[in-house]
Amino acid sequence: MNELRKDRLSNHIRYVWPAYIISALLIAGGLSFIFQAVHKLPEYKTLTIFVSGKVTDGKALKEDLLNTYQDKELKSVSTISADPNEGHYNTKLTIPGYSSADVLIIPVSKLENLDASYFAIDLKDELITNFYSGYSFYKQDEVNYGIKINKETVKPYMSLPNEDCYMFLNGNSHNIGEYANKPVKEHDLALHLVKEWGM
């Protein structure tokens, strides 16, 4: 290789290196976007839980739920946590809580100022008979909305406030079977989860 070509190659590396970095980033980003768009997990295979407190072991929670609900095709578990004592709690509860969570765990003290009908389905007699017979409920205007959570069951995964906490089923969820706004009877992961964690 002659000197001129060596010079040109070293100049090329010196001045064109950003193109290598930018092209790699664009390709990685673009392909990730395409793969994600084409193979997006159906919503009934993902479970999102809003936790009013701290998720202490998200990994174990995910693994345990994936194992438990393997036969129901659960593929992804995610959590949204918010400390009820922090200023942004209500904002987090609204976005992304109301908008994307399947199950919302809320302490009773926070429920006093909330309209449960806004974010949770009312637990009809049929649903209670089929899933939650004998459980404790959170009532508002004589309508059952929440199921009391058994803190001992979730203790390995999260730390909740020292008061009663209730689980609510979001009407927008795709995992509450025929009780969802878009009902599909077979997709009832959240109903089973609440049954397992409730008391």
Partner: protein, 164 residues
């Protein structure tokens, strides 16, 4: 001693190389594109492996293209356009005295052509003007003081005839 650059042959060679390289690039690009599409189509919900393979082959291809075009393809393409424009371009014929040639190439006018500088003195009546012209090939085998009639195109020697 004479020197004659066979423009038509060089043009054909350059054209062949440009065509081959363009075809090779298009073929590899198509294969990479097809591979990426297949990797997307045949991936399942756990698509990490497919995604990583697609990213690696695409990045390697892009980096190859970024390196190849300015450093190699450009040189061949410049030669091709030089020969292509020769027929319609202005040629200059002049009497010169050969001074020396330099066997390390340069790129004239930053146009990407690799050329060897040749120092000559133009003999125009009583005036003598030293100039640098270029040749595409090393070692013209002229000696210092040789009187030549040179035909140049864009200051590149196409033909040189010794007066001896």
């Amino acid at each position: 001693m004479n020197y004659q650059l066979d423009i038509s042959k060089e043009y054909q060679n350059a054209r062949k190389k440009v065509t081959l390289l363009s075809l090779a690039f298009s073929l590899i690009f198509s294969l990479i594109l097809i591979a990426d599409v297949l990797l997307v189509i045949f991936a399942n919900e756990d698509y990490k492996l497919n995604l990583i393979i697609a990213i690696i082959i695409s990045i390697l291809f892009a980096w190859g293209a970024i390196f190849f075009f300015p450093n190699f393809y450009n040189d061949i393409f410049k030669k091709y356009t030089f020969y292509k424009s020769y027929e319609s371009g202005l040629k200059e014929t002049a009497e010169v005295e050969f001074d020396k040639e330099i066997n390390e190439p340069v790129t004239k006018d930053s146009n990407g052509l690799y050329l060897y500088p040749v120092h000559v003195t133009y003999l125009d009546g009583l005036s003598r003007v030293s100039k640098v012209i270029y040749t595409l090939e090393k070692d013209l085998n002229f000696k210092k003081g040789d009187k030549l009639t040179v035909t140049t195109y864009q200051r590149v020697i196409i033909k040189a005839e010794s007066h001896l």
